[in-house]
């Protein structure tokens, strides 16, 4: 395969690089680089900046206002944006709901919701997992009962990322209790301010609030909020999972994380020399670089196949497993690079407006928390166990 970008791709890369230099606010890039907390306003601001150039929806088809980027262009954009420390886009509306609406939504739903995703009027979150339905998602229990022109929703969703900021949630709900569990699931759109919707925070092990429980008590949702057909929601959810392979490997994030780790290891001292020169540390770092170089090409090979129209396969699962483990190993080595200064943790220092002197090096405070927080990546989005099941089922012929 050709590892080089074409002239057009190189020109696109330059264009994105110039955009990031010019338009990415330094305040946001600093927050991302130093692992500070982003506020809702930060996320909305960044989406608006990306949208002003059409980049936010660059991967959408032209028919829906996108630029119809192919997988290579998406990869280039992702790498340039993460290298510049641009905040990651909030994916729920943009990359998760939008493709489902484009494929299965009514023209009215497409015309109403897609522009609102692009221009930031709606902030979406995802209602998939339930306390009893994690890896076994099809066993979900939240019900939607038809009552005239409405569905009445009852039940609980969990692990709802950024639910505290969202005004809309897309949910998988049970509309039929008969037959196979997969066959009684529907996909429905809910206004978070409908009476009966309650968001409760879940605090993560390192003290941050990213995810929530969302409770539904007799929530009345108009029937036109159903996406596609009743009891076909599982098909739509699966469509979403297998088609969302671009970016799943997190190559851009890994490259940015590795370059930050190098910076830290250059600053950290061991026996009077930069830690980067310590053979033990250098060995650990080099192993990660070896994995990342291969990962980058694996990702290109698979996204190129995507470009060529090959159907999504278990390779997506490989990208998920290897990509998350690789990024976690970078988090792990970054924590170790700090030595004793990995231990201090002042939570307030992660918020904007904290002006006290840092404890130890100014980059140290968020690192250990990040290491623990990123354990989530091998759990969410289909745990790595589920991904390995997919690989086994689809590739081994056992």
């Amino acid at each position: 395969m050709d590892l080089n970008y074409t002239a057009e791709e190189l020109a696109f890369q330059q264009e994105v690089r110039a955009f990031m230099e010019e338009k990415l606010p330094k305040r946001l890039a600093d927050k991302v680089k130093h692992h500070k907390r982003l506020t809702k306003e930060d996320m909305v601001e960044w989406h608006a900046i990306l949208n002003s150039a059409g980049y936010l929806t660059g991967h959408w088809p032209k028919a829906f206002g996108g630029l119809e980027w192919n997988a290579i262009e998406r990869t280039i954009f992702d790498e340039e944006m993460t290298a510049a420390n641009g905040p990651r886009q909030v994916p729920f509306g943009l990359n998760m709901l939008a493709p489902v609406l484009m494929a299965f939504g009514s023209p009215e739903q497409q015309q109403y919701y897609l522009p609102r995703i692009a221009d930031g009027q709606d902030f979406w979150c995802q209602g998939y997992s339930e306390p009893g339905a994690g890896s076994d998602l099809a066993s979900l229990k939240m019900t939607a009962q038809r009552d005239g022109d409405h569905y009445v929703l009852n039940g609980q969703k969990t692990w709802t990322t950024l639910g505290q900021y969202a005004n809309k949630i897309f949910c998988l709900v049970r509309t039929n209790k008969e037959g196979k569990p997969q066959e009684g699931i529907s996909f429905i759109l809910v206004d978070m301010d409908t009476p009966g919707v309650e968001v409760r925070p879940i605090i993560l092990l390192e003290g941050t609030h990213e995810v929530n429980e969302v409770w539904f008590t007799d929530v009345r949702v108009p029937v036109e909020n159903l996406v596609g057909e009743e009891n076909k929601g599982w098909t739509y959810a699966k469509y979403l999972l297998v088609h969302e392979r671009s970016g799943i490997a997190g190559v851009g994030a890994a490259m940015a994380g590795l370059s930050y780790l190098r910076e830290i290891a250059q600053d950290q001292q061991k026996d009077g020399k930069p830690l980067l020169e310590d053979p033990f540390f250098a060995a650990r770092l080099s192993e990660i670089e070896i994995d990342l170089a291969a990962m980058r090409t694996t990702n290109l090979r698979i996204t190129q196949a995507d470009n060529d129209g090959a159907p999504p396969g278990p390779e997506t699962s490989m990208l998920k497993v290897k990509g998350t483990v690789l990024r976690q190993s970078i988090n792990d080595l970054t924590r170790r690079a700090l030595g004793p200064y990995a231990m201090p943790f002042v939570s307030e220092a992660l918020d904007a407006g904290y002006n006290e002197e840092p404890i130890g090096p100014d980059y140290a405070n968020p690192i250990a928390g990040d290491y623990f927080n990123h354990r989530k990546t091998s759990i969410y989005g289909g745990s790595n166990e589920v991904q390995r099941n997919i690989i086994s089922k689809m590739m081994m012929g056992l």
Partner: protein
């Protein structure tokens, strides 16, 4: 015996919610709880009889800290083990302070590490300038465990006029409220407390010296060997708790109509975790049994243990979270707190690679 008492205390009076309450208090622990623990003799278990204690062997320390790990106890056992071990090398009046520590009245901290020293025990840039009747200390000490609540600090320094040579490191006992001692306390990611300590023209009398001039580093090695054994045993206790929780979860959490523990992919990983736990337990026994051997033998077994705990402890901590799934990521559920402690112990007294390098330098196992 005392370890059994500690175990019962943890089981009956130290549930995880109590632990979090203590950690969130201004001191970062409960003074009342500490007094109760002293009353039960749990602090005394860490020290030899000649210093007013009722134990002090490697096994006494290991058994006690295993229980501390099982309860994620935030009361300052570690800092007082370190400080008390240092003072046991000191004068009679300094040894009396150890008795007050055992009684729970006085708190110590071991102020040795410095900002750019990483894990290097010989890295001491703090200076002690001799005066007519004592010394003046200047320097910075970093990540001093429980340094914000201590009454006295054990401070390492180089006596000025000497070359910066590790032979010249000397320890001093400094009251924490002495003029010129500036402390900035803060929480650690795993729920404990530490402090950055600046010493600016801190005047101490000649009898503040612990042991002899230039004896500091050999005392530091003794202190750190005990501290390292202690935190490794603590990790073992936390590993026990994490494995118990994970096993319980495998048995009760159902997906696809069966308890997830029925899946062989998870069974094998749990089997590996349990095997590694036994390896760590053996490492603790080896190190405890060699704690009072020659320095070379002691340090080999201590470093072997610390490397093992760093490697396998991380695996067990990460797998415990992973096998729980989302619930393992939450503050409300205990397993994440055990995982945090197990992993952060890698940052106390040298990490995996520090001890690997030390093992290579020490050569073959004695």
């Amino acid at each position: 015996m005392l370890a059994d008492m500690a175990g019962r205390f943890v089981r009956e009076q130290y549930p995880i919610d109590t632990r979090h309450e203590h950690a969130a208090a201004e001191l970062g622990f409960s003074r009342e709880s500490w007094a109760e623990m002293a009353e039960l003799g749990l602090i005394g278990a860490l020290f030899r009889e000649e210093n007013g204690g009722f134990g002090g062997t490697g096994f006494d320390i290991a058994l006690m800290f295993e229980e501390i790990g099982r309860g994620l106890v935030v009361e300052p056992f570690l800092a007082n083990l370190l400080g008390g071990t240092a003072l046991a090398h000191g004068s009679d009046s300094q040894k009396e302070i150890v008795e007050a520590v055992i009684g729970g009245e006085t708190l110590l901290a071991f102020a040795h590490g410095e900002p750019t020293g990483r894990y290097d025990l010989a890295h001491v840039h703090t200076t002690a300038k001799p005066t007519a009747d004592g010394y003046v200390l200047n320097g910075n000490k970093s990540v001093v465990i429980s340094g914000d609540s201590a009454d006295f600090l054990v401070v390492s320094a180089l006596i000025e006029g000497d070359q910066p040579n590790e032979e010249d490191v000397t320890l001093f006992l400094v009251p924490a409220d002495q003029d010129g001692v500036h402390r900035r306390g803060y929480p650690t990611i795993d729920g404990y407390r530490a402090a950055e300590i600046a010493l600016k023209d801190v005047v101490v009398p000649a009898d503040a010296m612990i042991g002899a001039k230039g004896q500091g580093l050999s005392i530091v090695h003794d202190v750190v060997a005990r501290g390292t054994l202690a935190v490794c045993a603590e990790a073992l206790g936390a590993i026990d708790a994490a494995i118990d929780l994970t096993l319980e979860y495998l048995k009760t959490r159902k997906q696809f109509g069966v308890p997830i523990g029925k899946f062989q992919a998870l069974q094998h990983r749990m089997a590996d975790m349990m095997t590694e736990r036994e390896q760590i337990r053996s490492g603790v026994i080896n190190a405890a049994g060699h704690l009072d051997a020659t320095a070379g033998e002691r340090d080999w077994h201590i470093s072997a243990l610390k490397n093992l705990v760093g490697r396998s402890g991380r695996m067990i901590a990460e797998e415990s979270i992973q096998m729980h799934g989302g619930i393992g990521m939450t503050w409300e559920y205990a397993v994440g707190h055990y995982a945090k402690r197990i992993v952060m112990i890698d940052h106390l007294f040298g990490d995996v690679d520090y001890h690997l390098e030390r093992i290579i330098k020490l050569g073959k196992a004695a």
